[in-house]
Amino acid sequence: MSQKVTEKVPFNGTKEQEEKLLAVIAEHKGMNGALMPVLQKAQDIYGYLPFEVQKIIAEGLECSLEEVYGVVTFYSQFSLNPKGKYKIGVCLGTACYVKGSGKILEKIQENLNLAVGECTPDGKFSLEATRCIGACGLAPVFTINDDVYGRVTEDEIDGILAKYKE
């Protein structure tokens, strides 16, 4: 349950993003257990949760930055690092694992020269090993953004990825 900042990408949040975030904070302030919903919306706005964003949230909700950081690093869906334009998620749930998704993951890593949890330098692809996404009938499964690839074999990986490289 730990994650670290893998490479420092300069924060370039816009004024509009900040305004949106402040509106979200204002809407949730005073609500019981507001931190999680605010973090989720903040991640929707920025794509990830760098320190700069965490600071705004801590000030807005009047809690300590440590508290915010503690929650962000506890949950695997909150990311301290930016994600790629194409987010690849390989399901490593039991049903997919039994049907060979481990090999699919290896093949993708090899193809993109990319480790799990990282993003390619051009910002195009990021790779996650996900928990069960519940499409067990299609095992093994991986996703690229909203596209779901089911019953995949290792041979198909290069062809599928090529479509996104163009």
Partner: protein, 594 residues
Amino acid sequence: MYRAHILVCGGTGCTSSGSPAIIDELNKELKAQGLEEEVKVVQTGCFGLCALGPIMIVYPEGAFYSRVELSDIPEIVSEHIVKGRIVERLLYSETVTEAGIKSLNETDFYKKQLRVALRNCGVINPENIDEYIGFGGYQALGKVLTEMTPQEVIDVIKESGLRGRGGGGFPTGLKWQFTANAESDQKYVACNADEGDPGAFMDRSVLEGDPHAVIEAMAIAGYAVGASQGYVYIRAEYPIAVQRLQIAIDQAREYGLLGKNIFEKGFDFDIEIRLGAGAFVCGEETALITSIEGNRGEPRPRPPFPAVKGLFGKPTLLNNVETYANITQIILNGPQWFANMGTEKSKGTKVFALGGKIKNTGLVEIPMGTTLREVIYDIGGGIPDGKKFKAAQTGGPSGGCIPADLIDIKIDYDNLLSIGSMMGSGGLIVMDEETCMVDIAKFFLEFTVEESCGKCTPCRVGTKRLLELLEKVTNGNGTLEDIDKMEALCHHIKSSSLCGLGQSAPNPVLSTLKYFRDEYVAHVVDKKCPAGVCKNLVQFKITDKCIGCTLCARNCPVNAISGEVKNMHTIDATKCIKCGVCMDKCKFKAIIKE
């Protein structure tokens, strides 16, 4: 009035295989033929037969089409809908008989099932409250509010014998009683929809297919225990379920079935959705509560139990989705009806997500007491490719493996516990001879190590050490002494961890050690992996079936294969990285793993 209904599955499995596009295409095609007033397309929840998706069923004939593709739609509309001729090539083969088509309910997959929690899944449109009401929805809430006292409701649930479907199996009625007995100005009702077990998707299917059933049951629970606010804690990984649940909550509010003064009986109740953020431990009740409160989802010691001191420090009733899905039926049909199903101590039905090496992967609901054999062979259709059944895994990372010689066990809470597994939330993964049991134990331990929240030492450090021992074994460096060490460590972790995650984390290791000890021994003594999975212990060899076609040598990524054309080839074991490409490529089955 519509003369025909086309029900298309909109569960996550079928959505992934393209059912939304199929619905669009159907509507387009019907419109083109001028049939949009005569035929209605309904997007339903999960039918259960995920392996055959995308799935659709056309009424009144009840024709069940499977693996439908976009290009099939014009034919379905022009042949079936316009001319009344069923498109036979698309029918699920099990439903085709010489006398015509038979009902889906008579096929092997559905025959032995009994749908209580899933009664509306695949039948109604989950995004339309009128369809739910048309199928008897909100009658139970009406009955409870107008005819019963809160204590009478609790007594009915107690009498039914319903036990928690989240895995623990605690009697639901007792939980309701404890929360009702606690005195407080404010109480809460919560629903655990943080279905984290890998390979389990029962709760998601209920929420996607019949969200109102959960909302109605939570309102009933609110009335019974004296709570006015409900929370559903659901995984953010389930976007379709979240969206449909939100639609359902909004519709219920609009109809006055949530909100103030419901049924004009002075009862107020509302529900809010809270999203999880990917932490398995939040399925544990105290961790779930701390997470809703907006903190790191770490568990805390019990007592005090949530029924006394739960969410925001107030008495809280927490049940799982499938548990709630049974409530309205118990209220309407009576506790005796429910208690008549199942075994002596486990009443009713249980939903399982069938996955792994089995023909009919999907969602099934069976009466408690059905044997594992019936589930795997009759309903599941057996193991594909003529392979042999080796084990079934239930209970996910907290459960254990059931070996082939116990296949006639009757599935219920107590039987599964007695053989070292557990009911769990309902994942049932089937494994065949190509699955290495040590590797599976390692797979689950990797999961628990990753998901351990780190609060208590036995779980945080213990599971890590246990995983290292397992890695030592699968790498071929293990000793017999390591196996004993693992066993002892398992018992320490079980007895001293703070919450259910740690207490059950060693189960996959203990149960594989119990039933497949010989495989562990093969790994450490013979340095062999009998299933041929653990790379360090596997050797690829070319047998005399080789005709020297050179295909393997050309495909080997590390040039480890040598040999002359038309002569037998050999593999250089020092170069081989055991990727298995040669074996897959060989057309003569000349390459073996040993």
